[in-house]
């Protein structure tokens, strides 16, 4: 393959610039800068341009010449008609109306703040509407029990409940061990060994158990729900459901929310038990507190109300994780970027909502279940 060449010869009556070789993307792109520099030298001053020896010309090669010529045909040009057409096409493209960037408004700053606020407001409104829709669905199911989407609820229970058991158990056990180990180091210094049961029992049953499981479920099931709804929107499956008269609220959102509201307390119970076992094992190894003593002391220092609070937290967290996930899933627009950003937003918001709810619970239940 012959490379693109520029040959300059001085003749009587002016310069002759002969272009030869293959002027294609494959041959010119590797030496684009050098060729552009050579073109600048050649185009400096008048001359006859002879393009008849060009073996092949595509638009990338032609663009290189065109830019060298200053975006116009040189005054004296010898060229084959089929090559001339390539340049004419570029000339035509040059004369298309340029895309003008929209003028920047003087109130740009205000508009940015305004549209961000409206965006937040719209999020809140949509979320409230989603909760309202869920409430209506609950009423509907009570009036027409036959329409309860049993299969979907059971499938979701399995997916987000049963399948989450191994990971919640592992995390719960390790947190129990770590909490017990760290507390033991401190308690030993004061000779307050037996209070380990209070710390672990209260901390895990009332606080750590529900929050940890909620965070795991938000990352695990929340993201999956958002992505599933998002993809169903992209592929118009949700629209297809709507045209068959299947309400998306009842068939897609209701089962997810119900399933997670049921599954979460159960997962909390499961993870809390395992975490307590982890703490117990660690306490036995660090402080020589026997399993029997641990079992006996636990119900005494941790009133049963704490367990109910923990389970209630689990149910509320589960409901909100599912609602947040569905909210963001329905906002996905048909492109990959929107899918990924909404899934991220879903997990982050779900975890934030869980922490906020946890704070509300802490204030609302501050007089309940604590030993005086």
């Amino acid at each position: 393959m012959s490379l693109a060449r520029i040959e300059l010869t001085e003749q009587q009556g002016g310069r002759l610039i002969r272009l030869a070789g293959r002027w294609t993307l494959a041959t010119t792109s590797l030496r684009a800068t050098e060729l552009a520099a050579e073109m600048d030298v050649a185009a400096n001053g008048d001359g006859t341009w002879d393009c008849t020896s060009i073996e092949a010309l595509d638009s990338a090669g032609a663009m290189l010449l065109w830019r060298g010529w200053g975006r116009t045909f040189p005054p004296v040009l010898l060229i084959r008609p089929e090559h001339r057409r390539v340049f004419e096409r570029i000339d035509h493209a040059d004369h298309e109306p340029r895309a003008k960037p929209p003028p920047l408004s003087p109130l740009h700053g205000v508009m940015v703040i305004g549209s961000a606020s409206i965006g937040v407001l719209r999020h809140l409104l949509d979320f409230v509407a989603l909760i309202g829709q869920f409430g209506l669905n609950v009423v509907h199911v009570f009036r027409f029990p036959a329409e309860l989407p049993r299969r979907e609820i059971s499938a979701n229970l399995f997916k987000s409940g049963v399948r989450a058991m191994p990971v919640t158990a592992l995390v719960g056990f390790l947190i129990g061990v770590v909490l017990s180990y760290l507390s033991a180091l401190q308690l030993k210094q004061f000779g307050a060994d037996i209070f380990i049961v209070n710390i672990i029992g209260l901390g895990i049953v009332r606080e750590l158990g529900p929050v940890l499981v909620a965070i795991l479920v938000a990352g695990r099931s929340g993201s999956a729900m958002t992505a599933q709804l998002g993809v169903m929107r992209v592929t118009e499956e949700i629209d297809a459901l709507a045209t068959m008269g299947v309400p998306r609220g009842l068939r897609l959102i209701f089962p997810k929310v119900v399933a997670l509201t049921i599954a979460m307390p159960l997962l909390v119970l499961w993870a809390t038990s395992i975490a307590l076992i982890g703490g117990m094992v660690s306490a036995q190894m660090q402080l020589d507190i026997s399993y029997g003593f641990f079992f006996q002391t636990l119900p005494r220092v941790v009133p049963a109300a704490n367990l109910w609070i923990g389970l209630a937290k689990g149910a509320v967290f589960g409901m909100f994780v599912a609602l947040v996930a569905c909210h963001f899933g329905l906002r996905v627009r048909p492109n990959t970027e929107s899918l990924s950003s909404n899934t991220t937003a879903s997990v982050v918001s779900a975890i934030t909502v869980v922490i906020i709810l946890d704070a509300i619970f802490a204030i609302a239940t501050r007089g309940i279940g604590l030993p005086n």
Partner: protein
């Protein structure tokens, strides 16, 4: 330089227990516009995907420009892949990029052009597919079906390919858009000297575009020739495909007069 652009030899493909292709041979010479037709499930799209190296056949060889698709190192494989462009059925535009960035993407990947040169080339490609510079700012989700195909064509042409492969170029377009898209492909392939292979169901597209037709049936290329030659062959599939009432109307409309049967 005189090797056929596409050479497929003794190709065989099996999905599970079913042989899709068996002993399939096809050669496409430079400058041809070949339409690949066949019944549903006859493996047209599979064959196209094998030609572009997305699927491996169970047996047989595929050569493009006289070179095998695989082997010889990453650089050689990459260089070979820059010599053909593909228009996917649904466009396969990158949904996170706008139109401009979609077309600029293959040029940027070359890492040999600066932003100015890329801008010029993208504007040229947009004008070639009869779109306006302001369309460059649109996102793929904002485009109509016809525009998606045009942008996808512009992207397929970005690296100045010698071979263009089209999967159902007019599927999902209304007859008017489909006509103008076919005209565009025809004009560009003539001007740029492209070799084209397309998979199509649409007789209008086939009649308007192709210089040759390859009929895929009975696991091989059953017939390969001009539209006229193909229509003279007496075979149930061909009779069904070309000589049904609807087809006759479409072909007469485009200037072919099939023999009375």
């Amino acid at each position: 330089m005189n090797a056929p652009v596409i050479r497929i030899e003794d190709l065989a493909t099996r999905f599970g227990e079913v042989w899709i292709h068996n002993g399939l041979n096809l050669e496409v010479a430079r400058g041809e516009l070949v339409s690949l037709v066949g019944g549903s499930g006859s493996g047209k799209t599979t064959l196209l995907r094998q030609v572009i190296g997305l699927l491996l056949p169970n047996r047989g060889s595929i050569e493009l420009f006289g070179e095998p698709l695989f082997g010889g190192g990453v650089a050689r494989e990459r260089a070979l892949r820059q010599r053909f462009g593909v228009l996917f059925q649904h466009g396969a535009l990158f949904s996170a990029f706008n139109v401009f960035d979609n077309i600029a993407f293959p040029l940027r990947e070359l890492k040999r052009y600066d932003d100015d040169a890329i801008h010029d080339l993208v504007m040229l490609k947009l004008s070639m597919v009869e779109l306006l510079p302001r369309h460059g700012n649109l996102m793929p989700s904002e485009l109509s079906g016809g525009m998606v195909k045009r942008v996808a064509l512009a992207r397929a042409l970005a690296l100045e390919p010698e071979l263009l492969l089209l999967d159902e170029p007019t599927a999902g377009l209304d007859p008017d858009r489909s006509d103008s898209f076919v005209r565009l492909i025809r004009m560009l392939s003539e001007e740029l000297g492209l070799t084209v292979m397309l998979v199509t169901h649409d007789l209008d597209t086939l009649a308007a575009l192709s210089t040759r037709v390859a009929v895929l049936a009975e696991q091989r290329i059953l017939a390969y020739g001009s539209t006229d030659e193909i229509m003279r062959i007496d075979h149930p599939f061909i009779r069904n495909f070309f000589l049904s009432e609807r087809s006759v109307r479409a072909l007469q409309h485009s200037g072919f007069a099939p023999l009375p049967h």
